[in-house]
Assembly symmetry: C2
Homo-oligomer: 609 residues x 2
Amino acid sequence: MKHYERIPFHQVQITGGFWQTRQQINRETTVQAVYNRFSDTHRFEALACQWHEGMPNRPHIFWDSDVAKWMEGVAYLLQEKRDEHLEKLVDHAVEDIIRNQDELGYFNSHFLVTRQDDRFKIRNDHELYCAGHLMEAACAYHQATGKDAFLNAMIRYADYIYDTFYVYQTAAFTVCGHPEIELALVKLADTTGSAKYLELSKFFVDMRGNNQKDKPIVDDCNLSYDQSHMPLKQQETAEGHSVRALYIYSAMADIAARYQDGEYLSACEKIFDNITQKRMYITGATGSTHIGEAFTVDYDLPNKTAYAETCASIALALFARRMLALKPEAKYADAIERVMYNGALAGVSLDGKSFFYENPLEIDPRFANVNTATQKKQHMPIMQRVEVFGCSCCPPNIIRFIASMADTFYATADDTLYVHQYARSDAQISGAAIHQETAYPSDGSIQLTVSGGTLRRIALRIPGWCRQFELNVPYELKDGYAYADIPSGGMIELKLDMTVQLMESHACVQENAGRVAVTRGPVVYCLEGVDNGECLRSLSVRENSVFEQIDLNLGIPALRTQGVRKTGQQALYARYRSSYEPAQLTFIPYFAYANRGVTEMTVWVHILP
Amino acid sequence: MKHYERIPFHQVQITGGFWQTRQQINRETTVQAVYNRFSDTHRFEALACQWHEGMPNRPHIFWDSDVAKWMEGVAYLLQEKRDEHLEKLVDHAVEDIIRNQDELGYFNSHFLVTRQDDRFKIRNDHELYCAGHLMEAACAYHQATGKDAFLNAMIRYADYIYDTFYVYQTAAFTVCGHPEIELALVKLADTTGSAKYLELSKFFVDMRGNNQKDKPIVDDCNLSYDQSHMPLKQQETAEGHSVRALYIYSAMADIAARYQDGEYLSACEKIFDNITQKRMYITGATGSTHIGEAFTVDYDLPNKTAYAETCASIALALFARRMLALKPEAKYADAIERVMYNGALAGVSLDGKSFFYENPLEIDPRFANVNTATQKKQHMPIMQRVEVFGCSCCPPNIIRFIASMADTFYATADDTLYVHQYARSDAQISGAAIHQETAYPSDGSIQLTVSGGTLRRIALRIPGWCRQFELNVPYELKDGYAYADIPSGGMIELKLDMTVQLMESHACVQENAGRVAVTRGPVVYCLEGVDNGECLRSLSVRENSVFEQIDLNLGIPALRTQGVRKTGQQALYARYRSSYEPAQLTFIPYFAYANRGVTEMTVWVHILP
């Protein structure tokens, strides 16, 4: 099994365009906004472990993970550019963690103060999940700052977990109900060079669904909820809680790569295809139901009740990233790109201050909370982003995802440079200076130069959405990549056709029958009521619609076209008449929805053939 | 306020055609089938009041009402034709009731044995609801058999309720959480000639939403759940539990008629229009959500999760029947007809043995129980009828509705005969013999003769669905009725155009956008997977479709037409192509759905303009 070495984000500088703006917002607004809300909600304070019974703000089981993801995001920002203020905030949190870490290496701000006796007893209580996120943060912080206190503390914790779960197996369960530590341990192994953490990760991955100890994490859950229904190697479909699923699939891919394990690779491939070909929203989001926040069955992709958690979109990118290191096939980079511009990005407001947890593909405020007879309501996604959630995993996940965005851009194998993503950027790889000049995705033209270094070949991703492209050098197409020699001293010019496309779903996706999604390049568009009037379902695009680009200051053009509105009778039921009036339709990129107040929204729009 | 005297069903004999068959099944199969299941489930046994703590099969709060509705249905059958076996079953139940009725007149098989001390204390526990159904049964049984034991027992019970709730007001609540007694008391007043029961009914109607005593019946309900959110006179929209709502609206219409109360009439008119113009499925069903089994908001009519309780459809007919007695407008008879052939009739299987409680307009077994991660499932209607429910109100409601079907056919005012419904039948009204010769609704041709008697004018309903008709006598059209002189000794011939019609919904009914319902006359059709292959959403009818009638032995023709199936890509998402292949589409009457195993079904079908 060949390894396609991912080039880490800090070797790549985004120098302009869409992602530079989004990264600036992430750095200048989001990171502080999330810090403030986490402070208000006592998440940082909890690390001091001063809480005791009778006090308000009892630390929650997953607070450590929220803070850890924020710290990891900050570390990525620091890696790009040191910042005294942010570093102090992290250092303060780290001091609290180290001060309260017990002699065995254990740290958990919930268990230490609320349930000392329950340590490692309850599979559902996110202990190893929190530990994993702390480890990821510690690795990132060490790499960014060179400081080793946090990393050393987490090494001690990992060693304790290694002994408890692997050597002596004295814990009450074998694998944590929420995967995460598995992929964190791989990072810890990489950061420390110590194989024992990889060994422990492999143990956790091997043992999931493969031991007698682990029961369903709560009574009303099935084992598939945390992917424990069968050994991971045998799994072929994406099941259970979608974030948990995509984290453990990511870990499986890591283990497949590190152990050259063909069985894990094969399982990962099958599951990835199952997701992207049968269980994924066009935005890259997953999780078709809020009940269990879970995958369901093939082609079950309801729009209004989509769970489509921001973290699940990010986690699909994490999984795809790892698959790309095993196999340079465009479908993996395509999935990352789909998530980047749609499912993940929709999770944060344009101003960077507020967040969605659920990202439905359709909203109709008229029918969102229609139970008038009872207090009980059907669960529906909220219609406006908020600054913090009770379970606030998504906001800091957005921070670390955007901060490390460029992680997904390049890879190398032998003398070949893989270009997975397009964005205006400079990179230093294998001694070469790589320059991408492009206004992508506003424009499909990309100029690439590779100067110096040992790279001789280049493999350019031709996105799955692209129906036509031009490349100024001879190339060979394989698995969605155009392979070419790097012209010495010359420029590689790739032109991707960005014509607007109307996409349809597989016939089995019920709700989307008779409807299309408008896409341009990797960007999925939507209609909003604020632009298009009430009752978006009465609007249709025509098959031969011509789209005009308009600038609504979203970093990516909005689109305008002439469509039609069904007109006619005002009765509840009346004889069908094929009567339409012209209607100007304004499509905005999906990620920008719900930034102008509560309004109707739909990705899938009726089409008149 | 003029009164349009409804002709009771026993003056009308259905002599052939569709409803004769359905009435036979009702008499020969359904009544015994429901009896058997009610016996198996200890509902009859409960009347003996022998249960005590520690025994299994604790009598439920609504068991009396289930049995009562069955007895009422039997009474209607007996009224048409005495039957010793059935009469014995009722007499046995009546003996138990009388034996256990206490000295005050109280009878309730649940409270007498399980909670003596809670009598008339808990508004939510269906006491007066059960009493009401027992009273309706007693009236019907007295009328059918001339026996008066049951009626006298219920008079004693009504007197006790009159004193407790009206004279001394010693009960812990003012009006019952489940309306029903209000309309029962009107029947009791009619049967006994005693105005005090009408007075009590009016009191209950006046007091709903108009007193300090009554709080929401359970914590998570709003007052609107049982229509107690404001005085009924002020209500303008249909709110809350749909069966409760339609029962109280029926009582309001009764009170409007008996007291010549224009305010109640006006409220009834507004509410009726709100229902039929904004909150009713095309099948006549109501209740858009299982949460509270309730009305929601205008145009919220989801198909797959429709609650659409059989009892609510029947109750809409009860309400419309009463409105017809106040105003001969076709919209009321139209609603009854819509319910007869669709929403109510779907509640019982073709063989008469099993029942639906919920009657969705779309079923896709692939996506019905898709939660694999948890035990908790989204509530979805069941996909096959069953013989009995825990709350088994619908099966006996079907019995009484079908047995008394002809109640809705005729009315008189002065010398005018109103013909509300068409069916092959004979009737004796005002000394006249009325004969309807028709194969309606298989055919739209109706021959009517009126021989003898004092009737001089006739008013024939021209159904709202009918776009063209012919009448062989001069007429004047008013409020959907064709008024004409009765030709002496001659035949009235009405020909209703039964051309298949494609119906569309108001643009605000989200799910139905781009879709039509196929109807012929009053009958709504559906597609089933068993006839049309998988994935009904990929099928479309064309605007100019020609429909051929085929006989599938359903009593009403099925329809066949040439439609199209969307073909194309197998990917989850791909560029839209307007590619279709011809597909023969077989539509069956909606009421006949789910009689051939679990299969996909949809009423609303895509249309290609």
